[in-house]
């Protein structure tokens, strides 16, 4: 139902594969897939349009149109542009020193204001500051009691109305009391209201004018659809918001509303709610949100992990070798080993756009084990063979290597063949940024999965019996390929 962007892009751009050039006109089909994906993620219609213009601009401006895998390239650009739009982040509550900071939460009915008040109070209390909650929702049955219970759980005082029927008065009294009692932060829980309910929006404005909160946050449900732009705009027009809290991100909502709200208000999303418990409040991260909106798995986590785990010096060495065209099977092995350090290959694949499909295809096949077999083959080669496999390894050497590694002859042939294709690809990787490089590596692994799958198959399958005639034909073809390669390289 929720086809991920990477999957749909991969199919939309399938015809481009191999031709490797992304132009504005052939990108159109890909952008159609991006558009659908964003709309399915609930990004507002007009925001999507503006956004796609930016993507085209960015794609052209950055001169990144030449690529080996247009789908991934486009996902990369879209992702980066999403991050740009949703950032920069600001997790600060901008607490004052010397006087009480007043924070007001507002939003539509049921968005999670009261719960978020408690979550914020907990966070502030943990910083060792005194905090008070003010129950200014005099509208919904038991709203006051709800906040009072949460306050008790937290050990935080809650100012309750006590006969007062005007929320403005309650807020005023609450803030006055907090100041008197020396609380350093006061959080106002207001009643839920529709953005088109003028009377209640006016009431909010009166609280704003009278109490003058330092920070006003809009609480938005992550499941919100197209309405997000309308309501966020109305709240921002009425109150000049300082931040947004997006709740209920613990489910499977794609959360496109985050982009809508940010675009229409320009106000940063500060925190996200990831559960009903009062601990479930986290800082907002634009990168993660972008991946989520695109339904493309946690690329960011992967990139972060990659940055942490990749041996930077080794990477630099390899890059130098790529540039000078000295890339060998040894280097290739090191590279694969580095990627492997990120985790089980299957898991790594799943985190990468476009690779999810592959993962399904491979199913339970043990990619890691297959990778081990590849390493075995490489280890059975002489240094000279590793340096120049395409040219050096003839039929006889192949047989020797296969025996040494305990694999079928065909597997050795496959690796040698694949390496020729890959080394070209890797030359293209030199000078790429980290994200592109990681993606490229995954593409490589994707190719590797092919021989890998064959490796994983029962022996009888690989050693398909050929007629003498077929064998002759194959040999001829191989020799032809080899000659062509020698001439070409």
């Amino acid at each position: 139902m929720f086809e991920s962007l990477s999957a749909s892009l991969t199919s939309a751009l399938a015809s481009l594969r191999g031709r490797g050039k992304l132009t504005e006109s052939n990108m159109r089909e890909g952008l159609g897939a991006v558009r659908t994906a964003l709309l399915e993620a609930d990004v507002a219609y007009d925001v999507v349009d503006t956004f796609l213009d930016k993507v085209v601009e960015g794609a052209i401006g950055a001169k990144v149109l030449e690529t080996l895998d247009p789908a991934q390239q486009l996902v990369g650009i879209v992702h980066r542009e999403l991050v740009n739009l949703m950032g920069p982040v600001d997790h600060s509550l901008h607490l004052q020193t010397g006087r009480a900071t007043v924070i007001m939460l507002c939003g539509l009915q049921g968005s999670g204001k009261t719960t978020s008040c408690a979550k914020l109070a907990r966070r502030i209390k943990e910083q060792g500051r005194g905090v008070m909650l003010v129950a200014a929702d005099l509208q919904r049955p038991a709203a006051i009691e709800q906040l009072a219970i949460l306050g008790r759980q937290l050990g935080v005082p809650v100012h309750t109305p006590d006969g007062v029927t005007d929320p403005v008065a309650v807020c005023n009294a609450g803030v006055a009391r907090a100041r008197k009692e020396g609380a350093s932060v006061v959080i106002l829980d207001t009643a839920g209201r529709l953005a088109i309910d003028q009377a209640l929006m006016d009431e909010l404005k009166r609280i704003d004018h009278t109490v003058g909160p330092d920070q006003v946050y809009l609480v938005v449900d992550a499941m919100t659809g197209q309405d997000a732009v309308r309501s966020a705009k109305a709240f921002n027009d009425a109150l000049e918001l300082d931040g947004v809290i997006m709740t209920k991100l613990d489910g499977d909502a794609r959360g496109g509303a985050a982009l809508s709200v940010k675009s229409v208000t320009g106000v940063p999303i500060k925190f996200i709610g990831t559960g009903e418990q009062i601990e479930a409040l986290e800082d907002f991260h634009a990168e993660r949100m972008a991946g989520r909106i695109l339904g493309m798995g946690d690329v960011v986590t992967l990139v972060e992990e990659a940055q942490r785990k990749f041996d930077q010096d080794e990477m630099a060495r390899q890059e130098e070798r790529l540039r000078t065209g000295e890339f060998t099977l040894d280097d290739f092995k090191k590279m694969l080993q580095q990627t492997r350090r990120l985790g089980p290959i299957g898991k790594v694949l799943g985190m990468i756009p476009g690779m999810g499909q592959l993962k399904e295809l491979v199913g339970d096949a043990d990619l890691d084990k297959d990778m081990g077999r590849l390493f075995g083959i490489i280890d059975s080669m002489t240094p000279q063979e590793r340096r120049n496999p395409g040219k050096v390894i003839d039929q006889q050497r192949r047989r020797r290597i296969a025996t040494g590694a305990g694999v079928q002859l065909q597997e050795v042939s496959d690796l040698v063949k694949q390496f020729d294709g890959m080394s070209a690809m890797m030359k293209g990787m030199a000078g790429m940024g980290m994200r592109e490089r990681v993606q490229q590596m995954q593409a490589m692994q994707g190719q590797m999965a092919n021989p890998g799958m064959r490796l994983g198959k029962p022996k009888g399958d690989t050693g398909k019996r050929l007629t003498a005639d077929e064998r002759r034909k194959q040999k001829k073809q191989r020799e032809k390929d080899l000659r062509r390669k020698r001439r070409g390289d």
């Binding site: 219970i149 953005a195 009377a199």
Partner: protein, 350 residues
């Protein structure tokens, strides 16, 4: 007059004959009453002004596509139409299908708005065909209704509204406070029960909701009540343990009343976007939902996602929620829903 159309009038539809009816959302907005008297203009006027402004922001009025009488149906037109449809939250696929249909029928013709609207209306109504209002009632003994949905969608309030509907018909209602998790959820339902004169069965905070449901149904049977409505804590469809809890509630109440629950309602917030599809799928599978209550339709959200929801999951929309008061519930009418979806487009007829 349909409340559906309230505030959905085209801003150009100047002096409106709409009077605030007793049960219009404006009149029943609790906080509206307190300070509206002090304002120079009436509440309704101010609401109208606000709504007119909103209508401009919305840009979901199909009639806006027609500057003159009649317009050429070309790709520009279809693109604008797609925007209007997507903004109702019906999702890109449903919008595309409708646009394709209009393209097939009317492309390259100069047509009146009504012709296009007719085409869209027919399409939408066909998609909402499976939807019929009304609840399955028990032949004998209490009718048991389980109310489910994601956090904050409007379950408890919808229960209050259903209870009001039943008590108004002279039926005896027992409420089961099955949300034993959220802070003050029991208190919230208790306040409604008190206001509506319904009996409520409660359990201790944190207790097994299935046991509360059991107690409530048992009480309804014992008291000879007509209806027992069981509240449940909000949960996301991805939380499989909590979803299983709903299956357990079902099993437990079925032990007391074999046919129970007669209805399992899923409350969907009209502001919800495409995630409502996942909600419908999850709640249908785990809780055996039989129908939908579309809440908060009094806001600026259109609730268009129920178009693919009803289509894909065969779940009928039974009621719509139009405010925070107990009277703000209406049986679902596909015709009125579609009219409201396409906005002032039908203003002249409605």
């Amino acid at each position: 007059m349909g409340i559906f159309n309230f505030g959905r009038k085209d801003p150009k539809d100047q002096p409106s004959k709409d009077q605030p009816s007793k049960d219009s959302p404006a009149a029943s907005t609790p906080a509206g009453s307190a300070d509206s008297a002090e304002k120079p203009r009436g509440l309704l006027d101010r609401l109208k002004a606000g709504l007119a402004k909103t209508a401009q922001v919305l840009r979901t009025d199909v009639r806006d596509l027609f500057k003159r009488e009649g317009r050429l149906v070309d790709e520009d037109f279809l693109e604008e139409l797609r925007g209007i449809l997507v903004r109702t939250d019906m999702g890109p696929a449903a919008a595309e299908a409708i646009v394709d249909d209009v393209r097939d029928r009317l492309r390259a013709r100069v047509v009146d708005p009504e012709v296009v609207l007719d085409s869209i209306r027919t399409q939408l109504l066909a998609r909402l065909r499976n939807t019929e209002a009304g609840l399955t009632m028990a032949v004998s003994g209490p009718t048991v209704i389980l109310v489910t949905g994601v956090n904050g969608s409007g379950k408890t309030t919808s229960i209050a509204k259903l209870a009001r509907m039943f008590t108004r018909d002279g039926k005896r209602v027992v409420l089961g406070a099955g949300d034993t998790f959220r802070a003050a959820a029991v208190e919230q339902l208790t306040m409604w029960a008190d206001r509506l004169g319904a009996e409520i069965v409660r359990g201790p905070q944190g207790s097994d909701p299935a046991s509360v449901a059991h107690k409530a149904v048992a009480r309804a049977v014992e008291a000879g009540a007509d209806v027992c409505i069981v509240d449940t804590a909000g949960r996301l469809q991805t939380q499989s343990n909590l979803m299983q809890e709903l299956s357990k509630i079902r099993r437990v109440v079925a032990k007391l009343v074999p046919e129970a629950p007669h209805e399992v309602l899923l409350v969907i917030d009209a502001t919800a976007g495409q995630n409502a599809l996942s909600q419908a799928k999850g709640f249908k599978e785990a809780a055996g939902c039989t129908g939908i209550v579309l809440s908060k339709l009094d806001g600026s959200a259109r609730g268009g996602v129920i178009v693919p929801v009803t289509e894909q999951f065969g779940l009928p929309v039974k009621f719509v929620g139009l405010g925070e008061g107990a009277d703000d519930l209406e049986p679902f009418s596909p015709e009125r829903f579609v009219a409201a979806l396409l906005e002032g487009a039908f203003g002249a007829e409605a």
